[in-house]
Subunit: 285 residues, 2 copies
């Protein structure tokens, strides 16, 4: 039975996980830790966690007593925590994460967890978020209707893993198990490429126009939507770029070539074919 | 006094213009014409127009009696109508348009309209729309809060032009006068580039994944927003691409290079600078 949860990283996703557990009826204790005291205090005040660790060593101490430890920090920090938790945890416990890339994490999990005298590890990725982070934006309903992906390292789930999966289901999510390599490739196309694209477009416009009032005057929904993700924080995306470099580079190159194709065909019937393909993509959605 | 209006092209923008005139209290007659009988009938049934022309010649006949003629068709069709209307109209009348590019239209207007024995022409561009067109999506409130740009060819507005500008103000729009060349360059950045980008991304994903269920499962708001414009119809954008080719090509090339820069710096601190610029752009919005 899951009775104690520790959330490491009480930003948007971590704090929302605490709130969602409460909203779903979890009656046990939830502790939290974040290296930002502001995030940690905000999570405590909004009831996303019941108590907090005083420092990183306190968090490791709480980890020893937790049934489930949720790693809700950027990917490279998740890998650091996995190393530290490997020595501080044992059988019966479950460590899970919400990192945006899964191959490096799942490979590391195979080497650190899952044997008989070790804690279990379940790599996860809720497809939810906002363009800005932070506990203040956390919501119990953040995961409602969203997809929560898992890239399990082993075929046989522990009891605690089964229970965690149930709680995630109670959040109102749908879940899907995927191969971690396939996960990272697919996410490069549907998530990382839109992010890099939006960042590049917003950066280009900022460099070209700065605070020219006409941009605000003329730009409508099209501009707003295609640059919205430009507000996303580097702190999180640095780790995504670091741990999924080749797949992201492949998608960027493909889009560069595609834009070149459009550019060279602005006055030819090829442009019609491009619109027809794009229309077809949208009809399916 | 504006008493008779003729709307040529009763799709989304044309029909919305009729509805907005009515909602703003216009008590005169509104006639309509569209080469699609379906669009024309829909506009009539929803009260966007009071009457319709039976064919193109009937529309020209109605044009002779109209105080204001609104051209709400794609840009190349606007230019065709301008040629036909030059012979059918005269002093006191105003022809205005809602085309997405303004340089070619404004240049043509200078040669066809505006002298003492000719009708006046006011080139306009409401920055409003939806990703799909058609009269069925028309709304009286479509222009509320939106920007309606004008690229006037002459410095001295006629009485009818002043009255049309008032009605546009009654729609709840803000208006701005711009140089037509500057208009087309700015619109290339804030409207045409987002459109081509969204089309290219959606076409790329359609070609690569077709109906793979995982795209639907994993893709979230980021994918939805960056590909939304992929649903836009070629019929309208062909004319934009044809009449604003060089500015659009310039923006596409700049974005291709920018994406290449991101691709080459996925693991370097340059990526941080790119996110910082993009963050700054969004903070201003």
């Amino acid at each position: 039975m899951m009775e104690r949860v520790l959330i490491i990283g009480t930003g948007l996703i971590g704090a929302s996980t605490g709130l969602a557990l409460r909203a779903a009826g979890f009656g046990g204790r939830i502790d939290g830790w974040d290296q930002s005291l502001l995030e940690l205090r905000a999570a405590l005040e909004m009831g996303a966690v019941d108590g907090v660790a005083g420092n990183q060593w306190g968090a490791l101490e709480l980890a020893r007593q937790a049934d489930v430890i949720v790693l809700a920090v950027p990917v490279l920090a998740i890998k650091d925590w996995m190393q530290q938790l490997a020595a501080a945890t044992g059988p019966g416990q479950l460590i899970t994460d919400v990192g945006s890339t899964k191959l490096e994490i799942t490979e590391l999990a195979c080497s650190l967890f899952g044997s008989e005298n070790q804690a279990a590890f379940l790599a996860g990725h809720p497809m939810a978020g906002k363009e800005s982070g932070g506990a203040l934006l956390a919501e119990a309903s953040l995961f409602q209707g969203a997809m929560w992906l898992f890239t399990p390292a082993s075929q046989t789930p522990t009891e605690m893993e089964k229970e965690w999966r149930s709680w995630v289901g109670f959040f109102g999510t749908r879940t899907l198990d995927m191969d971690p390599k396939r996960h990272d490739e697919m996410c490069a196309w549907v998530s990382h490429l839109p992010q890099m694209l939006s960042t590049a477009l917003a950066a280009l416009l900022e460099e070209k126009f700065g605070d020219a009032p006409e941009i605000a005057a003329i730009g409508g929904r099209a501009l707003r939507e295609t640059t919205r993700l430009g507000a996303s924080p580097y702190s999180m995306w640095r780790d995504v770029a670091m741990t999924n470099t080749a797949p992201i580079a492949e998608t960027l190159l493909a889009l560069e070539q595609r834009l070149g194709h459009v550019r060279e065909n602005l006055r030819t019937p090829e442009l019609r074919d491009e619109f027809a393909l794009a229309n077809q993509f949208r009809v399916r959605r």
